[in-house]
Symmetry: C2
Amino acid sequence: MRISRRVRFEAASEIAPHQFSVLVQLKAEPATLGDLADREQVKAPSMSRTVAGLVERELLARKHHPTDGRVVLLSLTPAGQGLLRRERAQRDAWMSERLEGLSPAEQDILAKATEILERVVAR
Amino acid sequence: MRISRRVRFEAASEIAPHQFSVLVQLKAEPATLGDLADREQVKAPSMSRTVAGLVERELLARKHHPTDGRVVLLSLTPAGQGLLRRERAQRDAWMSERLEGLSPAEQDILAKATEILERVVAR
DNA sequence: TATTGTTATACTCTATAACTATA
DNA sequence: TATAGTTATAGAGTATAACAATA
């Protein structure tokens, strides 16, 4: 928790946390506004506004659902993907610097721990 | 980062994140309003307001600085300490459940990783 | 005159309630 | 009639600017 906090504080971002979080959600595949609101634990009107800002900045694109005219599908634009990449690189940078100071054995332990935690968080 | 996020989302809290964060800062020792503002990367007026809310709820106490009359020292009240304990226990609970499912060898790796990360975050 | 903290005012993100469009 | 999303309005948390008290 402390490291996570440190990284979030460290990285001077070009995007607000709640907006970044939405980009992360859309990394793999498009989602509806309702889905995004549920996943981010926010009500529909809040997400509507957040999404509007991201569309305005051309980081997200709105698409019509093929069969249900009420639904809006949101997906990353190339600009959104680019920003996402930059943010992640910046956050990784802080950690990478510190990992370089560790011995190979210590790095190996962290690598193994990462695998374990990947499984833990997947549950 | 994903686990940290998951834990924060999981734990239904009796206190807002930014308020909780201040309690954590004051766990070890009292601090001035300015110190808190700097550490939380917030401006003085914002911290003044946050602190006012916590004092109102009797989770923090204001004290006068012994020699500098301008300074306000904030510290946890017993109620604040109690709330801090409860929150941490609740967050730990989610993680503990998942760690129980791991083998002793896996738990050992995580324990060693924790030691390493403690050093990393301390820098 | 400089520093610590508070108050005044404005902007953003959140929510609930009301509304529009589509099923 | 129910559902997906938006708009209207209000409540926090943040900021900058202005102020009060103390060094």
